[in-house]
């Protein structure tokens, strides 16, 4: 089938990219700054893709993704710093606890729709942040020291696993059920699809990978503070998905890469960065509400080139 045809080429490309970058890093052709940027790109892609599953595939508008990032970041930091377990365990624990948090948040709030759901997820993310702010064991507002463990290898392996899981989920019958929830919840309910189940599952998987990204995130920055996981962080993740196109995985990946590079160069001018971000968001919504790619994937464009005749119906 389609996915099995794409699977092995994807793995080969992934191994090649990994090998090339790893050789470049170990021979120090690219310096610390660039390798750090690459790790950041990988983390942001994981975040973008995990939110893409919730917003783009299942159509549930969540603007509290940073809450799950915070859960993963703090839990993994506790595992490595307090319990002195290896980093791999920390990543898995971060992901699982974030998925549990996703279930706890998702089961009540996914009964809501549209803007109410958005506000509820925002509220939950704020509550998660305030909880961490009030636990003295993780440093409260001052933050928590975390040793630097994230390497290109960890980041890239997590990224590949995330992409494979989410692509396979999307192409499976579960993914199709989730897409039908996005397209028309009432109709898919009438077709016998358990809409609540799929919404919660997508939310939990999305939260799991946000937690994994959180583990990588916290071990990349030496210190984590509750203020890093506020509404602005959720917004950062949201803009990846919106700019790339709601429903397009490759769009989310591309915009995560693009915006991470842009914001790395604008690091010294945080206001300018936010002004550009917000302008981009407004202009995209006003003039191209589907985002850059709509629901198309990069591979769809390849198909268009191969069979230009069939391209008409996909256009725009």
């Amino acid at each position: 089938m389609k996915k099995s045809k794409q699977f092995w080429p994807f793995i080969i490309v992934a191994v090649l990219v990994y090998a090339v970058v790893q050789i470049l890093i170990s021979t120090e052709i690219i310096n610390q700054f660039y390798s750090n940027t690459l790790i950041l790109i990988a983390i942001n892609i994981i975040l973008a893709v995990s939110l893409h599953l919730v917003i783009g595939i299942t159509g549930q508008f969540s603007i509290g993704h940073a809450g799950f990032l915070a859960v993963g970041a703090y839990l993994s930091a506790i595992v490595t710093m307090k319990l002195h377990l290896p980093f791999v365990v920390a990543i898995i624990v971060g992901g699982i606890v974030a998925a549990l948090a996703g279930l706890i948040v998702g089961i009540p709030s996914l009964r809501l729709k549209g803007d109410y759901l958005a506000i509820a997820t925002l509220g939950f993310a704020e509550i998660i942040r305030i909880v961490f702010l009030n636990i003295d064991a993780v440093g409260g507002a001052a933050g928590m020291q975390v040793s630097h463990l994230t390497t290109w290898t960890y980041a890239f392996v997590c990224l590949v696993i995330t992409l494979v899981v989410i692509v396979n989920f999307t192409n499976s019958r579960h993914g199709l059920a989730a897409i039908s929830v996005r397209e028309n919840e009432i109709a898919s309910d009438a077709m016998g699809i358990n809409t609540t189940y799929y919404k919660v599952i997508a939310f939990a998987i999305g939260s799991f990978f946000a937690g994994v990204a959180g583990a990588l995130f916290s071990h990349n920055f030496y210190i984590i503070q509750p203020s890093q996981f506020g509404f602005l962080k959720s917004f950062d993740i949201l803009i990846f998905v919106v700019l790339g196109g709601l429903g397009s995985l490759s769009g989310a990946v591309l915009s995560a890469i693009l915006l991470t590079v842009v914001s790395t160069y604008l690091q010294g001018y945080p206001e300018t960065r936010m002004i550009i971000y917000s302008l981009v968001l407004i202009l995209v919504m006003l003039y191209r509400p589907k985002g850059l790619m709509g629901t198309m994937e990069i591979t769809d464009y390849f198909k268009l080139w191969r069979t230009p005749k069939g391209g008409g119906q996909h256009g725009k």
């Binding site: 009964r111 809501l112 917000s278």
Partner: protein, 291 residues
């Protein structure tokens, strides 16, 4: 009489929330948009009040009126530029645009004047009098009376004027209102103008009461005012007033009990409980969804 004191503090805070919540609820009632930028209009109003007091040397009331007028204009500009094109877009597109506008205003203000906070000048004496054993400052009396006057004025506009009638008609049914010859665009703009003017007034009052203002001050009060609007039943004007007051009192009680760090969480917990158990709010009626 500690409790009376806290109650008065809570009502003062709640009346600020109520003023902001009114703008949210009116805009939501008419175009079903959560205007995230509303909290930032509140911030802009506060800064306009600040500059008109310190730079132009105006008194409290002229500053209040200037700020309200400027915010009304600002609100209409936001609506005309950003939201008007989105009337027929999906709710999510409108919501994302509103978030974008909100961030643009915040960081635009930071870009223009920097992120440093300002201290509001002390315009009123710090005199206070005793009432049943509680210390009541002149300021809180004034804040309360200004908010009450504005809310009465709003009720008058909504129920007794032609614009208000048009607003109620448009929020009830846009298409029918259009057929009855109501200029829907102007009515929506009027709604934004009134809501933003109230937010501007709340901004000045907030500055006078809490003395410290900064470009990101609108985020948390904005979100909490939204909670207040949902609590009272979104789209219902008296609901926003009651919701604001309830939220203010609850927050003050939470901090008085010694959980001041959890104060912000209290508002969101209320929000989630309301959304789960009674999404239409205290005053709302359940509407049946049609397929």
């Amino acid at each position: 009489m500690e409790w009376l004191q806290q109650l008065i503090n809570g009502i003062s805070l709640g009346s600020i929330y109520a003023l902001i919540a009114l703008g949210y609820t009116m805009v939501y009632g008419i175009i079903k948009l959560i205007n995230f930028a509303h909290g930032d209009v509140f911030m802009v109003g506060s800064f306009i009040g600040f500059y008109s007091i310190t730079v132009f040397g105006l008194g409290f009331f002229p500053a209040l009126i200037l700020s309200m007028a400027a915010c009304a204009l600002f609100g209409v500009i936001i609506e005309r530029i950003a939201y008007k094109r989105l009337r027929n877009a999906t709710r999510i597109a409108a919501l994302i645009t509103a978030i974008g506008v909100s961030l643009l205003i915040e960081y635009g203000v930071i870009y223009i004047r920097g992120a440093q906070p300002e201290a509001y000048p002390n315009i009123f004496s710090n005199k206070s009098f005793e009432f049943l054993g509680a210390q009541i400052s002149i300021q809180s009396v004034l804040i309360l009376s200004v908010s009450v006057v504005l809310m009465i004025l709003l009720q008058f506009i909504v129920h007794k004027t032609k614009t208000g009638k048009a607003m109620r008609a448009v929020s009830h049914d846009v298409e029918a209102a259009k057929l009855m010859g109501i200029n829907v665009d102007n009515t929506i703009s009027a709604t934004f103008a009134i809501g933003s003017a109230l937010a501007g007034a709340a901004g000045v009052i907030f500055g006078v009461y809490y003395t410290k203002i900064d470009p990101l001050m609108g985020v948390i009060p904005g979100l909490k005012a939204f909670v207040a609007a949902v609590l009272g039943g979104i789209g219902i004007i008296p609901g926003a007033m009651v919701g604001g007051l309830v939220l203010g009192v609850v927050e003050t009680i939470v901090s008085a009990l010694g959980f001041s760090l959890w104060r912000d969480a209290a508002a969101f917990i209320i929000l989630i409980l309301i959304l789960i158990f009674r999404p239409s709010g205290i005053f709302g009626k359940n509407t049946r969804e049609k397929v």
